[in-house]
């Protein structure tokens, strides 16, 4: 607690508070009541899209990274191609291809339209989630490739020499050390993912950014909705940063020379 009461932190806090008060008093917030429910819904949608796509994407990124770092060529090559294509094309394009390309093929098959899946396939969020997940997997697969490579060989040899089965080595030695090395990068990539979610508005999934844009278009008020949006994003990013710092401070602190 005392750590928070350092002079410079108090000063920064006061500056921040001043800014908030200035914004609250001199700017226009009369639109807020009308759009508040929409914003709440948007925030919720942003959060679950972010959480689900990051978790699923990371789950895909690990095998993708591993295959490239140490896999046989028949696994490494497809993983490599996947990551290159995903990282190499705009996410917007991917979202479009999934929704307007893949998604609009389904209705042409009557049996799909009749099936129980249709109410889900008809909606946009599955495509949004799919596109975001694959995108995250592509970027993080690349990060994990480097991370897996960076674990010193001796660490793995020790595990191998003790007869650890491969999956255990991966799970208990290789992955933890690899993830540790790239935690700051992963934290940044998660924040990037948060900022990539607005693209799903193009396929009618309305999250917080789209709500803010709509307020801007409806009312032509420029800065206020964006500032509110920034605040929401800052809170989310703060949560992400805290989460990652929490993980980072577990385990040994890096020994910093003199």
């Amino acid at each position: 607690m005392r750590a928070w009461l350092q002079p410079h932190r108090i000063a920064l806090g006061l500056i921040g508070l001043g800014l908030v008060i200035w914004c609250a008093t001199t700017m226009r917030w009369d639109w807020l009541p009308k759009y508040a429910p929409m914003m709440a819904e948007g925030i919720w949608r942003t959060i679950w899209l972010l959480v689900l796509s990051s978790v699923l994407g990371m789950a895909l990124a690990v095998p993708l990274g591993l295959a490239q770092a140490a896999g046989p060529w028949y696994l490494a090559a497809p993983a490599r191609v996947f990551c290159t294509v995903i990282r190499g094309t705009p996410l917007l394009l991917q979202i479009w291809l999934f929704y307007y390309g893949l998604g609009s093929l389904f209705p042409q098959f009557p049996w799909i339209r009749q099936s129980d899946l249709w109410p889900i396939l008809r909606q946009a969020w599955p495509y949004a989630l799919l596109a975001l997940t694959l995108s995250f997997a592509g970027y993080e697969g690349e990060v994990m490739r480097g991370a897996f490579k960076s674990v010193p060989r001796g660490q793995l040899e020790a595990a191998r020499a003790m007869g650890m089965p491969r999956h255990l080595i991966l799970w208990r030695i290789w992955l933890p050390q690899a993830v540790r090395a790239v935690l700051p990068t992963l934290g940044g990539e998660t924040v990037l993912q948060m900022k990539a979610t607005p693209l799903v508005a193009t396929i009618t999934v309305v999250e917080i950014y789209a709500v803010a844009s709509r307020v801007r278009q409806d009312t032509f008020i420029v800065y206020e909705p964006l500032l509110l949006l920034a605040l929401v994003y800052m809170l989310l990013a703060g949560a992400i940063v805290l989460l990652f710092r929490q993980i980072e401070t577990r385990g040994p602190q890096v020994r910093r020379p003199g």
């Binding site: 140490a70 990060v143 990068t185 990037l192 948060m194 964006l226 994003y233």
Partner: protein, 238 residues
């Protein structure tokens, strides 16, 4: 008109427009990425070795700048700040000034890239075995030389994937500069698509251009990484 006519280099084909857009995108991406690297390097160094005030300020920098959408930053910098400066200038009887939209765009993108690069480089910096640094220190290397000759090469291998991600993001984030009236690849694509209604043709064309760009830069990044990892034995399959 068929897709090939639409993509022809001279009007009514849009090829020249797209290529000009690509060139602009590259200019901005290179500018922003370079600025980001410099800021990221300084930020990472400060986060690890700086005092408590430096660290808190940098934490704010990375958290806020990464969190706030680039659109807001550029609107505030390009319109808000210009407006403010102009009001002051006019109050004192001076002429209005006009910030260059491109400069504002590169600055904003670079500052944002810097925040991400800070974290990428910080992770890589922390992963450099302390013994490597100690050896340099014990031999009396000055910090800058040590950073350049020992630490930088040692962290490069791990930083490369994160940096290459950032580079690719920089090439695509240039779309933001449409707000300040700058036509780069994404904007040119949309323009062409909307004018001709040939959405599919142009988006695929842009996708292919980006993909080629990715392959080329991927090759460069891979070469750098291989060079950085030349002294490391390969981790064979588990």
């Amino acid at each position: 008109m068929g897709p090939l006519d639409l993509l022809a280099l001279s009007p009514p084909g849009w090829g020249a427009t797209l290529l000009a857009g690509l060139w602009n995108s590259l200019l901005i991406a290179v500018g922003a990425f370079s600025l980001g690297l410099v800021l990221g390097g300084l930020g990472a160094w400060g986060k690890i070795h700086g005092g408590p005030v430096t660290r808190d300020l940098l934490a704010m920098y990375t958290t806020i700048v990464r969190a706030v959408p680039e659109l807001i930053l550029i609107l505030i910098l390009y319109f808000g700040v210009t407006d403010l400066v102009n009001q002051v200038l006019i109050a004192f009887g001076h002429e209005r000034i006009q910030i260059s939209g491109v400069a504002a765009g590169i600055t904003v993108l670079g500052v944002v890239q810097g925040a991400y690069a800070t974290e990428v480089l910080r992770g890589a910096l922390l992963a450099v075995p302390p013994g490597q640094v100690e050896a340099a220190r014990a031999m009396g290397m000055p910090p800058l030389l040590m950073a350049r000759r020992i630490i930088f090469p040692a962290m490069l291998g791990l930083a490369m994937p994160g940096l290459s991600n950032l580079w690719l993001i920089a090439t695509k984030d240039t779309a933001l500069l449409a707000v300040v009236g700058f036509g780069e690849l994404t904007f040119a694509t949309r323009q062409a698509a909307a004018s001709t209604k040939a959405f599919f043709t142009f988006f695929i064309a842009a996708g292919v251009i980006y993909l080629i760009l990715t392959l080329l830069s991927g090759w460069v990044f891979a070469r750098i990484e291989a060079w950085a990892r030349r002294g490391e034995p390969r981790n064979a399959g588990g």
